[in-house]
């Protein structure tokens, strides 16, 4: 369970870096800063937009989990994450994960010069450092 979730998120989080690398290399970011954009405004808008995408993905994951839970396909596994007070822990875990991994992707994106190879490398890093039941 955890391995497949983390595998998917590895791709999602790497996709956030593509636009940032492109913007940095084509000097579009430089142009924005020259026109008087604040650093906080630039990064906060990028972060909120990525967070919206992340929340959509998380809601879809919960939707799939609930469907599988009610069709009793993997009910024993999923009742751990979805029943009682543990649902709150699971949601909290996903919220903290989003807040930690999106800025981490921003930091790593400074290393790469080509958007496509940056996406590939960040995906590889995410998968290698992931976890598995």
């Amino acid at each position: 369970m955890a391995s497949s979730i983390v595998f998917g998120f590895g791709f999602l989080m790497a996709a956030f870096a593509v636009f940032l690398i492109k913007e940095r290399i084509s000097k579009a970011k430089h142009l924005q800063f020259l026109s008087g954009a604040n650093g906080i405004n630039f990064w906060l808008s990028a972060f909120i937009w990525d967070l919206v995408y992340y929340i959509i993905a998380t809601v879809l994951i919960f939707l799939v989990w609930i469907i599988f839970y009610h069709t009793a396909a993997v009910k024993d596994d999923l009742e751990v994450y979805l029943t009682g007070s543990r649902l709150g822990y699971t949601i909290l875990l996903y919220i903290f994960y989003g807040f930690s991994h999106i800025p981490m992707t921003y930091v790593i994106s400074y290393v790469f010069q080509i958007p496509a190879s940056g996406f590939a490398w960040i995906t590889i890093i995410n998968i290698i450092t992931s976890n598995k039941i």
Partner: protein, 86 residues
Amino acid sequence: MIVIFIGQATLLAVVILSIPQLELLNVADILQWIFLILFPNYCLGQGLTDIYQNAFLNKLCEPLVPFCAFAPNPCCKGKTSLFIEN
């Protein structure tokens, strides 16, 4: 097969080092904290695993907790003081 090779690099190190017979438990502990700080992906996997493990152990321990007063077992953590006093 590929998943085994690429998906477990960090977890495998921690799991192997945390075998008690190797006497490397503190190394595994430190390594786990380093991984938790550096790799958010490892955090999510570890969190999901921990939730699952805790819930499973709770379910497993449920029938054993009433017997804590008579026979101490790993399930009654924090409830053994009664037994020791007696």
